[in-house]
C-alpha cells in the first residue's frame, strides 16, 4: 500500500514537468531561432556581407538612374536590393550547419523538422529585416526620397514581403545545402517562385514611398501577399520533414 501510494505520486509528478505540445513547439522554435541568431551575432559573417552588398547596390543605382526615375520605380529597386541581399543571408542559413556535421545533429535532436524550419526562418527573418531597415533610410538619403510618409503601412508591406522571401528562401536553403553549385542554385530556384510576392511588394512599396496609402485599387496586392505567405508557410511546414529527413 505504501509503495503503491509512492509510485502513484511519482507518476503524477511527471505531467507537471511536461508542457502542453503547442507550448513545447513554440519553445522549440524559439530555441532554434535564438541559437541561430546567437551564432550569427558572434561571427556576423552573413549579416555583414549582406549589409555591405545592399549598400553597394544602392550606391550603384544612383549611377544607373536619374533621381526622378528612382522615385518612380522605388519599389522595384528596393525589393531587388532586398531579394539579392536576403539571398546572401539565406544561403548561409543551412550551410552554416555543415561543418562538424551540425546539420545531422540538429536533425537527430528531439525537435520536429517543422520547428527547426520555423526557428531558422524566424532567425533569417529578423536578419533580413535588419538589413532592410538599414537600407531604407540609406535609400531615402542617397536618392532624396521622403519615404516615411506612409511609414506604418510601408512597414506592414515590408514585414509581409520579407516573410515571403524568408519562408521560400529558408526551405530552399535546406534543399540546396547538399547540392552542387549551391550559391547559384538558391537564387535560380527561389526568384521565379517569389515573383508573385515580389511583384505585389514592389507595386505596394512604390505607391507607399510616393505617399499614396493602400486604397481599394491596391488592396488586392496586399491580399495576394498575405495569401502567398500563408500558402507557402503551410506547404513548407508540411514538406520540410521530407527534405531534411528523407
Amino acid at each position: 500500500m505504501q509503495s503503491m501510494a509512492s509510485s502513484s505520486v511519482s507518476v503524477a509528478a511527471i505531467p507537471e514537468r511536461r508542457r502542453p505540445a503547442a507550448i513545447e513547439f513554440v519553445r522549440q522554435i524559439f530555441v532554434v531561432m535564438v541559437k541561430d541568431l546567437r551564432a550569427e551575432f558572434r561571427t556576423k559573417e552573413a549579416i555583414n556581407a549582406s549589409l555591405a552588398f545592399a549598400l553597394v547596390i544602392l550606391l550603384l543605382f544612383s549611377f544607373a538612374f536619374e533621381e526622378e526615375t528612382t522615385r518612380d520605380i522605388s519599389g522595384g529597386l528596393l525589393w531587388i536590393v532586398f531579394a539579392f541581399a536576403g539571398t546572401l543571408i539565406l544561403n548561409r542559413s543551412f550551410a552554416r550547419e555543415q561543418p562538424n556535421d551540425c546539420l545531422d545533429a540538429l536533425i537527430a535532436a528531439p525537435v520536429p523538422a517543422a520547428a527547426l524550419f520555423l526557428g531558422k526562418a524566424l532567425a533569417n527573418y529578423f536578419l533580413v529585416l535588419a538589413v532592410e531597415l538599414v537600407s531604407l533610410p540609406v535609400f531615402g538619403i542617397f536618392h532624396n526620397v521622403n519615404w516615411t510618409r506612409q511609414f506604418w503601412q510601408l512597414m506592414v508591406v515590408v514585414a509581409l514581403g520579407t516573410w515571403a522571401l524568408t519562408v521560400i528562401g529558408t526551405i530552399f536553403s535546406a534543399l540546396t545545402v547538399n547540392i552542387r553549385l549551391r550559391e547559384v542554385m538558391l537564387p535560380m530556384l527561389t526568384y521565379p517562385i517569389l515573383i508573385p510576392a515580389l511583384l505585389a511588394a514592389m507595386m505596394l512599396t512604390t505607391d507607399l514611398v510616393a505617399g499614396k496609402p493602400i486604397g481599394p485599387d491596391t488592396v488586392s496586392w496586399l491580399k495576394m501577399l498575405i495569401g502567398f505567405d500563408i500558402i507557402y508557410t503551410a506547404v513548407s511546414v508540411v514538406l520540410v520533414e521530407v527534405i531534411l529527413v528523407g
Binding site: 526551405i171 534543399l175 540546396t176 547538399n178 547540392i179 552542387r180 553549385l181 542554385m185 535560380m188 530556384l189 521565379p192 517562385i193 515573383i195 508573385p196 511583384l199 505585389a200 507595386m203 488586392s220 496586392w221 495576394m224 495569401g227 502567398f228 500558402i231 507557402y232 506547404v235 514538406l239 521530407v242 527534405i243 528523407g246
Partner: protein, 224 residues
C-alpha cells in the same frame, strides 16, 4: 507488348498530324490576319500538351513522396522534360504570331509572362535534378520542387493578370468564333499532340528506368 502500344499511338498521332497539316494547308486565309492565324492550330495544342505534362509531373511527384516508388520519379522527370519541350514550342509559336500581328516578338502581357515564368520554373526543375548526385535525394528534392512550382503557376497567373493583359481572349470560351470543321481539325490536333506527348514521355520514362538500372549495377560493381 508495351512497345507495340507506344509505337501504335505514335503512328496514329503522326497520321493525324499529317492529315491535319494537309487539311489546314487548304484552309482559306482569315480576313484580318491572313494565313498566320493557322498557327493557333499548333500553338494551343502545344500548351494543352505542356499543361498535361505539368499535371502528370505534379501527380507523379506527390505519389512518389507518398509511396517512394522510383517508377513515379521516372514518370515525373519524363513528363516534365517532354512538357517543357512542348512549352518551348508553345512560346516560340506564340512569339512568331505576335511578331506578325502585334509587330513585336514579345510583350509583358499576363499570359505571356506567366507562361515564361512557368517555363523557367520547369527548367529549374531539370537544373535542380542535375545538381543533386544522390539518387534518392534527387528524387525527393525534385518532387518537392515540382509541388512548389505547380502551386506557383496559378498565383503567378493571377498576379500578372492584375498587372496587365493583352493576349487575345481564348477563342472557345470567351467569344471569338471558329467554323465547325475548323474546330474539328483543332481538336484532332490537340488529341494528336497530347498523344505525341504520351509517346515521348513513355520513351523517356523507359530510358530513365534503364539509366537507374545501369547506375545501380555500376554501384554494385564498385562494391564488389
Amino acid at each position: 507488348m508495351r512497345d507495340k502500344i507506344i509505337y501504335g499511338i505514335g503512328i496514329a498521332a503522326a497520321a493525324v498530324i499529317a492529315w491535319n497539316l494537309y487539311a489546314i494547308w487548304g484552309l482559306p486565309d482569315e480576313v484580318n490576319q491572313g494565313s498566320v492565324y493557322k498557327i493557333i492550330f499548333f500553338h494551343v495544342p502545344m500548351w494543352a500538351a505542356g499543361g498535361t505534362g505539368a499535371v502528370t509531373s505534379l501527380v507523379a511527384s506527390v505519389l512518389f513522396l507518398i509511396t517512394r516508388k522510383f517508377k513515379l520519379d521516372a514518370l515525373a522527370v519524363a513528363s516534365t522534360e517532354v512538357g517543357l519541350a512542348f512549352l518551348t514550342i508553345g512560346l516560340a509559336t506564340g512569339s512568331i504570331w505576335g511578331r506578325q500581328i502585334w509587330g513585336i516578338w514579345w510583350t509583358w502581357d499576363a499570359r505571356l509572362t506567366s507562361a515564361l515564368i512557368c517555363w523557367i520554373l520547369y527548367a529549374g526543375y531539370l537544373m535542380l535534378r542535375r545538381a543533386v548526385e544522390e539518387p534518392t535525394q534527387r528524387a525527393i528534392f525534385a518532387a518537392v520542387y515540382s509541388i512548389f512550382a505547380f502551386i506557383d503557376v496559378p498565383i503567378v497567373f493571377f498576379s500578372i493578370k492584375w498587372w496587365r493583359t493583352q493576349h487575345p481572349q481564348p477563342v472557345f470560351w470567351g467569344g471569338g468564333s471558329f467554323p465547325p470543321d475548323w474546330t474539328r481539325h483543332f481538336l484532332w490536333n490537340m488529341a494528336a499532340m497530347i498523344a505525341l506527348g504520351v509517346v515521348l514521355t513513355a520513351v523517356r520514362y523507359r530510358q530513365e528506368e534503364a539509366q537507374r538500372e545501369i547506375d545501380s549495377l555500376r554501384r554494385m560493381a564498385h562494391a564488389l
